[in-house]
């Protein structure tokens, strides 16, 4: 029996994820995901159409499991990446949280809008990214975990770089 998931509970989970990213609590962030969680940021095929098929189209990021995110966290902490040497300060805001489809296996898709303000200390510059999240949530041992996350990034001309904390 799955725990109930109303919009407020869904929002709390999304806010918690945002907070983990902003506070760089990487292990706590990873712990919100199931081991088989698929994480993807599709590209756009044209002005209006996000790419739908990651096996045919380039994605900005596509990991078929949490191991890809673990690699990212390893790199951020490694001290071996100049792009990660001075991390930006971020503020993730999540809005318009809406509980959507319930799959036959009980997984629930939660839709939301995100807005990330990012300050890059080296350039003394502010960047913004915004778009739509779709989280697929799965009940595991009485709590909801993220079994999939798709990030549709609206402003997809990337300023220098993005990483998992930028969106």
């Amino acid at each position: 029996m799955s725990p109930s998931l109303d919009a407020q509970a869904a929002a709390q989970l999304l806010y918690l994820e945002a907070d983990c990213l902003d506070r760089r609590r990487w292990d706590a962030w990873l712990a919100l995901y199931t081991e088989d969680a698929c994480f993807r940021i599709p590209t756009w095929l044209d002005e209006d159409t996000p790419a739908d098929d990651p096996d045919r189209c380039v994605s900005l990021i596509h990991y078929a499991s949490r191991a890809g995110l673990e690699d990212r966290v390893w790199r951020i902490r490694s001290g071996l990446s100049v792009a990660s040497a001075v991390l930006p300060r971020t503020a993730h805001a999540v809005h318009n949280v809406r509980v959507g489809e319930v799959a036959p296996d009980g997984e629930v898709t939660v839709h939301s809008v995100f807005h990330v303000d990012l300050f890059e200390p080296r350039q003394r510059a502010v960047q913004v990214s915004f778009g739509h999240y779709a989280h697929r949530l799965r009940a595991v041992d009485g709590r909801w975990l993220i079994a999939g996350k798709t990030i549709v990034l609206m402003n997809d001309v990337i300023p220098t770089m993005i990483d998992v904390y930028s969106v």
Binding site: D55, I61, H62, A67, V82, R122, P159, T160
Partner: protein, 475 residues
């Protein structure tokens, strides 16, 4: 000679008041003289001002992008009649179209009436292109088909002295699907312009009997640094172990952990974590094109299984070159990196310290779904601005730009030391590797991977300086 002249000016500058005069002094130096090329003395230097000065940037756009051949797009992006794509040549908006009969053309993307950009989308399919301002319209061959309310317009007879269609580029040609154009007479055919560098485009195209395609999905990024950092970096063997240790160590880590669900392997991922026994080499060609190659154990290459069939089709030597990594710059704006995945980058300079890069994953037509998936995942992890290697490059470019503009460094101290590795090893003409492949480069060099040759950049800057000098003269 240039250095001596600079020193005299510098001394004079100090005498007249340091900061203001130094700036004014270096601004008078003609752009082409920012490359100090004295092969007889073993000297090749590039000056920091080449990356910073507004007047140098303006001249680069004039001389390198808005004159002469530049890459526009790939035929596979326009497969059907009336397909189009829009792009830029320097500051100029351009549209490439396939007409009803399937013929390709390239035009200024600007209405003849008031200059408005006519085609707005990155690509699409349209028989007619309507200018929304006053309603002139053009067909997919660029012809004006509606000059609205013309009959009542009381135009003078001289109005028809100039054609009313979209203005075609002065030159437009394809090399095996790679489309190039020039805003003014380039003075050479595309074949002459590419010279033997075209062999390295052929090595990409000929990997598959059915040719290649650009995979769907736009990836575009900007960085706050000069465009030439991108031009250099793709052929920069020296930076790789220093800039990308996180990626290389991650590949070792993945190898140690064994296969994990959902994680792609890479050509750089050893099974044993042992350092590869690699060799490297570089060629420069006339007209600014350059190439760096490395060998790594060919059995790690995805084409290894097909090497015999490849050999029968393209010859054993070319097949063996397909199993080497190859980083190609087609001057001034096209880059193709070929390792396990094939990446194409197109450079668009926006300001002395701002550059836009568009990238595509190139793949052989008709590869299996598994191979395609593996190619995509590997490509994304390494090449994307959201990946784990390119961000370390773009952040380095920005560090370079900030470092360079941090105060006007006195002229003589502002020569970079980044173009000297390999000068004692480079030779004019073809080395054994070039002869085996049957090409005639302007220079060749090769050695252990640790040679990390920088003479490959000389080819870029020799063309750069020559074209800028010509443009200075004609101004």
């Amino acid at each position: 000679m240039i250095a001596a002249r600079g020193r005299e000016r510098c001394v004079a500058g100090i005498a007249r008041g340091f900061v203001r005069t130094i700036g004014a002094m270096s601004d008078r130096t003609p752009p082409h003289a920012l490359v100090d090329d004295r092969p007889g003395e073993g000297v090749f230097r590039v000056h920091r001002d080449a990356f910073c000065r507004d007047d140098v940037f303006e001249l680069e756009l004039d001389a390198l992008f808005e004159r002469g051949w530049v890459y526009l797009g790939h035929e596979s992006q326009l497969p059907r009649p009336n397909d189009y794509l829009t792009t830029w040549v320097g500051r100029v908006a351009v549209v490439v179209m396939r007409d009803e009969a399937g013929r390709l053309g390239a035009f200024l993307n600007s209405c003849r009436h008031k200059g408005a950009q006519v085609v707005h989308r990155a690509r699409g399919n349209a028989r007619l292109h309507l200018c929304r301002y006053h309603g002139w319209s053009y067909d997919s061959a660029g012809r004006n088909v509606v000059l609205r309310a013309r009959a009542d317009g009381a135009y003078p007879p001289s109005f028809d002295d100039a054609p009313h269609g979209l203005q075609p580029l002065a030159a437009f040609a394809s090399h095996r699907g790679f489309l190039f154009g020039s805003l003014s007479d380039p003075g050479t055919t595309l074949a002459d312009h590419l010279g033997d560098a075209r062999i390295f485009l052929d090595l990409v195209v000929d990997q598959s009997e059915q040719g290649i395609e650009l995979l769907p999905g736009d990836v575009r990024y900007t960085f706050r640094a000069n465009w030439k950092f991108q031009l250099e970096n793709t052929v920069d063997a020296y930076h790789f172990p220093a800039t990308h240790p996180s990626y290389l160590r991650l590949m070792d880590r993945r190898a140690r952990m064994g296969p994990r669900e959902g994680v792609a392997r890479s050509v750089w991922q050893g099974d044993d974590g042992v350092q590869l026994d690699e060799r490297m080499g570089a060629f420069t060609f006339a007209h600014g094109h350059v190439l760096v190659w490395t060998t790594s154990p060919p059995e790690r290459h995805p084409l290894y299984a097909q090497r015999e069939a490849l050999g029968r089709r393209v010859g054993a030597e070319r097949a063996s070159w397909m199993l080497r990594t190859r980083q190609l710059d087609v001057f001034p704006n096209l880059q193709i990196g070929s390792s396990a995945a094939i990446q194409m980058r197109v450079i668009r300079p926006l300001a002395p310290d701002l550059t836009e890069v568009s990238t595509w994953c190139i793949a052989p037509v008709g590869e299996s779904a598994d191979a395609r998936r593996q190619r995509l995942r590997q490509y994304e992890d390494f090449y994307n601005p959201s990946g784990m290697a390119t961000p370390d490059d773009t952040v380095n470019y920005e560090d370079c730009q900030r470092g360079m503009r941090s105060g006007r460094v006195p002229w003589q101290q502002a020569w970079l030391q980044g173009h000297a590795r390999g000068i004692a090893a480079v030779r004019p003409g073809a080395d054994a590797h070039a002869r085996a492949l049957g090409i005639r480069p302007a220079t060749s060099s090769s050695g252990p991977f640790a040679l990390a040759d920088e003479t490959v950049f000389h080819g870029l800057y020799r063309e750069w300086a020559a074209r800028l000098r010509d443009a200075e003269t004609s101004r």
